[in-house]
């Protein structure tokens, strides 16, 4: 059982699309740049302008283009929107996964991770009412579970409506990511897989978000993904609350409780997002999950940790380092440490290149699993 879990977790370090490290640019909340106040998904007009004038380099642009020009051309198809109520976006990500690079048993795999078309309707002052639709490709899981039917790889990734009663309080309903922890880029990070808040764990539900000078948080009640068979849907609720510290940092706590016919899951975590300024940051999360299997009455407690450092040597470049810890069963002596550096380059808005190297090691008194090395090279394009 434990060996299976270990292998499962080291199979595929992957990438998602949420950038909480931008707290290093003093953006403590995701709400400034995303329609979803907890990040991920479509980026709003301000976020696109920030992407063009702060995040991305201007290596590919004519020198005659001003920063104002870049901001205006940050819209869909390089255009400044002519109306306020409708936005579209297209995203595409593909990466090459190389296991054991340079070794005798090197394997390579090309994977399309994302091919999304998004549409956003928005009305009222400060986008008071929004409706978000995101339809796209979801790669089939590499580890198929026996008895679970294949899901359609082209499906709604999220669709929800939201209404802001005030600029700092809103309610959202539909298919969304669960409110929990830090939505780090790496969707297979233990901090996302253990509490089941990864790339394909969106759920239908209702979420409330609030924000004030020092606090930000949300409560999410959900009924599972209605595209799944009813007995598989994880129903429950979650919450996440963050406190601003020192004006530029965030400390947070999360709790999640969900269950279906076959198992239940409880998870809680504390996290920190620290602003090192000039675009650099540190992100950390430590959490614990408790899974109860209904049929066997077996209970598995797991623990995970995440530490990420992002350094921004120059505009358009982020150098980062990941250290992850996972103990899939607290009654077992074995645990995993996954470590790896990487670089993320935005030569211009709409283009992201990223390279990661992961070393995964299983520690345990009776374990002799060799280190796993993985090289990931990713291209992300968007319009």
């Amino acid at each position: 059982m434990n060996k299976f879990l270990f292998l499962f977790f080291i199979i595929l370090p992957g990438l998602a699309w949420s950038y909480p490290n931008y707290i290093g640019h003093s953006y403590t909340s995701c709400l400034n740049c995303h329609y979803n106040p907890f990040g991920n998904g479509p980026v709003n007009d301000y976020g696109r302008a920030v992407s063009a004038t702060l995040i991305s380099a201007r290596w590919l642009y004519p020198k005659t283009w001003t920063e104002e020009d870049l901001a205006e051309k940050s819209g869909f198809l390089f255009r400044k929107p002519k109306q306020d109520w409708f936005r579209t976006q297209v995203n595409y990500r593909r990466f090459r996964l190389t296991r054991n690079p340079g070794g005798k048993n090197q394997t390579e795999l090309w994977i399309t991770m994302q091919a999304d078309a998004r549409a956003i309707l928005k009305f009222g002052e400060n986008d008071r009412f929004i409706a978000v639709f995101n339809h796209g490709y979801a790669p089939a899981p590499m580890s198929k579970v026996s008895g679970v039917p294949d899901e359609d790889t082209w499906r709604s990734r999220e669709h929800y409506v939201g209404y802001k009663f005030t600029p700092k309080f809103g309610v959202y309903a539909g298919l969304m990511d669960k409110v929990y922890g830090v939505r780090v880029v790496e969707h297979i990070a233990f901090s996302r897989t253990f509490p089941q808040v990864a790339q394909n764990d969106q759920t239908h539900g209702v979420m409330a978000h609030f924000l004030n000078e020092n606090w930000e948080g949300g409560v999410h009640g959900f009924v599972g993904n209605l595209a799944q068979k009813e007995d598989l849907r994880m129903k429950g609720g979650s919450t996440m609350i963050e406190r601003t510290v020192g004006g530029i940092h965030r400390l947070g706590f999360s709790y999640l409780n969900s269950s279906n016919l076959y198992n239940s899951l409880q998870s809680y975590a504390v996290h920190a997002r620290l602003n090192l300024k000039e675009g650099s940051s540190v992100i950390a999360e430590v959490g614990q999950t408790s899974k109860n299997i209904t049929a066997t009455k077996e209970k598995i407690d797991s623990r995970y940790g995440l530490l990420q450092t992002y350094l921004r040597p120059t505009r358009g470049v982020y150098v980062f380092n990941n250290i992850e810890y996972a103990k899939a069963d607290l009654t077992d002596d074995n645990y995993i440490v996954r470590w790896g550096p990487g670089v993320q380059i935005f030569p211009a808005q709409r283009i992201e290149f990223r390279g990661d190297i992961y070393n995964t090691r299983v520690f345990g008194p009776e374990t002799s699993v060799p280190d796993s090395w993985t090289l990931l090279l990713q291209t992300h394009l968007w319009l």
Binding site: H25, S26, Y27, T28, S29, L31, N32, N44, D45, Y46, A49, V50, T53, L54, E67, E68, L70, A71, N126, D127, P167, K168, L211, E213, E216, G247, I248, E278
Partner: protein, 158 residues
């Protein structure tokens, strides 16, 4: 509002590297940024127990926020074309508190200052409202700035 930043110069200060003015701006709905300049003109002088300054000023265009486009918006919002400087005048301070007159966007208002003196360096701060200086509410693509602005000033005491 960003003009307020200029106010910073209030505290007594000079053109040297040890001098800086930082305008702390809160974004709405969330977040913040700082506009900082080290090009502060003026001197803080000691007169008995008092700290005084006739005039401290900073060029609006010298305030940098970390984003070039935001620097431009910041300066334009403070009407730097018409009022290129923020000026603090008539500064008098004693026992950690002081007063001065701050001029931003061509509007002059009195401000109350808190400060501490350590190793010959004065660290001061004061709070102003952008609207007091006839600065319109700033907003860019749905993200605005709060009316309250905190200004930090660091200068050596001559």
């Amino acid at each position: 509002m960003k003009l307020l930043v200029t106010l910073l110069s209030l505290i007594s200060f000079s053109v040297f590297a040890q001098s800086s003015i930082t305008v702390n701006v809160t974004l709405s709905p969330s977040g913040s940024f700082q506009a900082t300049s080290t090009k502060v003109k003026g001197n803080l002088k000691k007169n008995g127990d008092m700290i005084e300054a006739d005039k401290i000023q900073v060029m609006i265009e010298s305030l940098k926020t970390g984003i070039e486009l935001r620097d431009e918006h910041f300066a334009k919002h403070l009407n730097y074309g018409t009022h290129p400087k923020a000026v603090i005048s008539g500064l008098k301070a004693q026992n950690g508190k002081g007063t001065a007159q701050l001029e931003v966007n061509g509007v002059s208002k009195p401000v109350s200052i808190n400060y501490e003196l350590k190793d010959g360096q004065v660290k001061a701060n004061f709070k102003v409202k952008a609207s007091d200086f006839k600065l319109a509410k700033a907003q860019y693509l749905g993200v605005g700035v709060e009316d309250d602005v905190v200004i930090n000033v660091e200068m050596p005491l001559k």
